[in-house]
């Protein structure tokens, strides 16, 4: 074994239209905790998925224990001694915990599963990591944090040399986090290495030996944790120059308040709570925050997709209750959802159908459509937004991500909204299309419309917004005006309540 247990050299990964990883290097020493840090979308998860065989890198090499390996599947990764705790857990809820742990490698007795041995092995494993859970209880009956610990136990059970932990503490309480750290220390003392991904600075500084920082899919550098401070990490995570990625701004928002939200609370304790803000005519209000800050949940509630327990929404001085999407549409709201494929696009329908679906009733009398009006409206709207499609009859699924997004914006513009809510409007689309969407946003505010934009991309947030509201764990942690825009400050607010 050389100096490093794992070397990932010059890793490159390209998705259609996006370079997710660009010449990234990660070197992990044996018996250490190596923290991997970066903003949302910096490429941490992608890099780990390459290591774990979920993605295959387009360039670069992975050297494990001094031997070059090509990892094609998760099973192969596990066989090579790499295990991973995923950010999102997908337990088989209606099967016992132990079956979840030993799935794919059940202890056997002849042709039958050896249940006794499985129970014993699970008990031994739980004792090893200090977890007190009945192996036969159903996975679905455990709390999210216990499941997280079970998941950690499972990764230990593979006897891996390298354990990847992607946000392992996101659903853990302080006590459980302490417990996790004990487990980590034990694993480290056994000579295993842990790649630790987290946004929580204090954790990193406490547990990590070395820190690698990534930014925009690129490698920034690796430092011993002892040489770092929270500020240094944040600076290196966001430290980039802002080039001309945004069209020039010509319109300044008016003072007129279009939308006033006061003390909005979700019935779910973990979701948004006591959110208040104002939106002015012709303003782009950016909402910043980390994944899990409940930003999407907030705007979906404003659009009638989620329940609101208390608080008020006042538009143009008139207070109203948002009970359904149709209510919200009637009051001039439009929402471009975050998950384009899941909640936006009708892949098997035509571009025409996709464009007019939200405003269908405007082109019909008593439910019967006026084909010509409908087609003309779609044509006009798609032309304005410069949608590139062979014809309006083409299937939506054959369009590129950027063009699909433009069709969805066209869809909402046809409903004549006053307030557009754009949730990650440029996610997964290429640079050219991004610029076009920014231009469209500027055109819209120039027409007196107002925009609420959620973005996890810091440059986009600061480049486009007139004002930024930062959320952290469901609450508003602060507002920043344009003249006070500062990446470090946004990051600090976004992690304010985090332990």
């Amino acid at each position: 074994m050389g100096e490093y247990l794992l070397e990932m050299n010059h890793i490159t990964k390209v998705f259609p239209g996006v370079k997710a990883l660009d010449d990234v290097t990660l070197k992990v020493r044996p018996g250490t905790v190596h923290a991997l840090m970066g903003e949302n979308g910096a490429g941490k998860s992608t890099l780990m998925k390459c290591l774990f065989g979920i993605y295959h890198e387009d360039g670069g090499e992975i050297i494990l224990d001094g031997k070059r390996e090509v990892i094609n599947s998760s099973k192969q990764a596990l066989d090579l001694g790499v295990s991973m705790i995923h950010q999102e857990l997908h337990p088989i809820r209606y099967r016992p915990v132990m079956e979840n742990i030993w799935l794919g490698r059940f202890p056997m007795k002849g042709i039958a599963v050896d249940k006794k041995a499985m129970i014993q092995k699970t008990k031994d494993l739980f004792r090893e990591v200090g977890l007190d859970v009945d192996p036969e209880v159903l996975a679905g009956e455990l709390s999210a944090s216990t499941l997280q610990l079970v998941e950690i136990a499972r990764s230990v059970s593979y006897n891996s040399k390298i354990i990847i932990m992607d946000e392992p503490t996101s659903s853990l309480t302080d006590n459980e986090t302490e417990h996790l750290f004990k487990i980590i220390n034990k694993l480290r003392s056994e000579g295993r290495s842990i790649i630790y991904i987290s946004h929580k600075m204090e954790e990193i500084l406490r547990i990590a030996d070395e820190v690698t920082i990534m930014r925009d899919g690129q490698y920034v550098g690796t430092w011993p944790a002892s040489e770092l401070t929270t500020d240094l990490i944040i600076n290196r995570m966001v430290g980039r120059d802002m080039t001309n990625r945004f069209p020039p701004k010509t319109y300044t928002p008016s003072d007129e308040v279009v939308l006033k939200v006061e003390n909005l609370c979700s019935p779910l304790a973990k979701s948004f709570q006591q959110v208040s803000f104002e939106l002015h005519r012709g303003e782009i209000l950016g909402i910043g925050g980390l994944v899990g800050a409940q930003r999407t949940e907030l705007v979906e509630a404003l659009f009638g997709l989620r329940e609101i327990q208390s608080g008020s929404v006042t538009k143009d001085g008139e207070r109203f209750a948002v009970k359904s999407v149709r209510d919200a549409k009637k009051h001039g709201f439009a929402l471009l959802t975050e998950e384009r494929r899941a909640t936006g696009v009708f892949g098997i329908l035509s571009v025409l159908d996709n464009t007019v679906i939200a405003s269908q009733k405007n082109y019909a009398t008593k439910g019967v459509l006026h084909q010509k009006q409908r087609a003309e409206a779609a044509q006009e709207s798609c032309r304005k937004l410069n949608v590139k499609t062979p014809s309006l009859e083409a299937l939506m699924q054959n369009l590129s991500g950027g063009n699909q997004q433009k069709v969805l914006i066209a869809r909402w513009l046809l409903t004549q909204p006053d307030i557009l809510i754009l949730d990650e409007p440029t996610r997964g689309i290429d640079v050219g299309a991004k610029y076009e969407i920014y231009t469209i946003m500027h055109d819209l505010i120039a027409q007196g419309k107002s925009i609420i934009m959620i973005s996890s991309e810091m440059p986009e947030l600061l480049g486009m917004a007139d004002r930024v509201m930062v959320m952290c764990e469901g609450r508003v942690s602060g507002f920043l005006d344009r003249d006070r825009f500062d990446q470090v400050e946004v990051m600090r607010l976004a992690t304010q309540f985090a332990s």
Binding site: V325, A342, F346, G347, I348, D353, I357, Q360, G367
Partner: protein, 424 residues
């Protein structure tokens, strides 16, 4: 095979020529049948191949129409048709089921030339009519990635209710012995209304409680059968088959128009069943609803991506209710027609029709995953099943073998259909 490209115009022209030749030849031979005396060769032809000339003329007309459309339509002008191994394979897989059907028809014609009669074609169309109406109802539920298991029982319910109130006054075994003669429309509306009530229940369970249509309609199906049997068991009927149906009601399912008889009273042309134009009208209405109304577009949207439909502000509750109510209306209507056609009913009527209808829809290209399906596909799906059933009966294949063949056709058709999508 070497690749060849033929311009669209020439492609159309080929069809025009083939169509014209068939039409002319078939038409001439047909018309010569009216010459007095009938030429000897025409007699031989009609003895050997029966009505083939007329059928050939009809097919010729269709081919001619297709060719003219290709030749004149602006949409195709300037384009060209490629002949390569790939395009031909694609064509074969896309139309595999129709081509298999054609092959089957040719085989049947060789085994039993009497199959080539206009009477057979009309029979097939008549038998397809009520099935088509049921399939058109069920297709809505399939389009939202659901299903409707209660269709068959609704057919039975409508049949029982309508016949029970439309018996002759002098019939000995009346369901309601003291019932006066009522206007024919009343029992029909009652029967369809009863079905729509259960359609409401289907829709409510699915839309309100987010129940999977499979289980919701299964429950409703059982309820309908029970309720229908209870009604059927009312004294004095006590579960006896309902008969003695009024002739004006039976007319609705049995009337034939354009019947031509010669001087000797022999039927020359068997006439069109009234069910054929009824089915055509229903088909046109459904086509209109699916393609030209907000409701239809919403059905496709919910089937294509339900979440996106919700976000777009589509009233999913209303649409799903509408789907199940409209579907039940069609089942009820089909049940009334079926009762009129057979001039009677029992509570067993319609049993299993839903599975035939679903199979026909799926073979006709309606996706069980929702969002995909066309009226034209459903028509061909229904026709395919009727032709197979009728044809196999015609050449005396045993009913047991018919079942085996039917099952194989469903499996193969859907497998081919899915392989089309998998390549993408």
């Amino acid at each position: 095979m070497k690749e060849r490209t033929i311009p669209q115009k020439k492609f159309g022209l080929i069809f025009i020529v083939i169509g014209a030749v068939l039409l002319a030849a078939g038409g001439t031979i047909f018309l010569m049948g009216f010459v007095d005396p009938v030429p000897a060769f025409v007699k031989t032809i009609s003895k050997k191949v029966f009505d083939l000339p007329v059928l050939a003329a009809l097919i010729g007309a269709c081919v001619l129409g297709f060719g003219l459309n290709r030749y004149c339509n602006k949409k195709f002008s300037g384009g060209s048709v490629d002949f390569s191994r790939r395009s031909i394979t694609a064509y074969l897989t896309n139309n595999a089921i129709i081509l298999a059907l054609l092959a089957l028809v040719v085989v049947i014609c060789f085994i039993e030339p009497r199959f080539m009669q206009i009477r057979v074609v009309l029979d097939i169309l008549t038998q397809s009519s009520t099935r088509l109406i049921i399939a058109l109802g069920i297709c809505f539920t399939l389009l939202i990635a659901g299903t409707d298991l209660s269709a068959g029982r609704m057919v039975g319910l409508a049949a029982v209710i309508s016949t029970s109130m439309l018996q002759n006054l002098d019939y000995g075994n009346r369901f309601f012995p003291d019932m006066p003669l009522v206007p024919i429309i009343l029992p029909i509306l009652l029967a369809i209304g009863a079905c729509m009530l259960f359609g409401c229940l289907n829709g409510f369970l699915v839309a309100k409680y987010d129940m999977h249509p499979f289980i919701a309609t299964l429950a409703v199906q059982v309820i309908i059968y029970g309720a229908c049997s209870l009604y059927f068991d009312l004294p004095p009927n006590k579960s006896q088959p309902i008969g003695g149906v009024r002739s004006d009601f039976a007319w609705l399912g049995q009337y034939k128009f354009f019947v031509i008889e010669n001087e000797a009273g022999k039927v020359v042309f068997p006439g069109f069943s009234i069910l054929i134009p009824i089915a055509l009208v229903v088909t046109a209405v459904i086509w209109f609803i699916l393609n030209k109304t907000v409701f239809g577009k919403n059905v496709y949207a919910i089937g294509g991506n339900r979440e996106a439909a919700v976000v777009s502000g589509v009233n999913v509750f209303k649409t799903i209710m509408g789907i199940f109510i409209l579907a039940s209306l069609l089942y009820g209507f089909a049940g009334v027609l079926e009762a009129a056609r057979t001039a009677g009913a029992t509570n067993q009527y319609g049993n299993g029709y839903e599975l035939d209808a679903i199979a026909a829809c799926v073979v006709g290209g309606v996706s069980l995953n929702g969002g995909v399906g066309k009226v034209s596909g459903i028509i061909s799906g229904v026709l395919i099943f009727t032709v197979i059933q009728y044809g196999l009966q015609f050449i005396n294949v045993s009913p047991m073998w018919q079942q085996v063949i039917k099952g194989i056709i469903i499996a193969v058709a859907v497998a081919i259909d899915l392989s089309k999508y998998r390549k993408k």
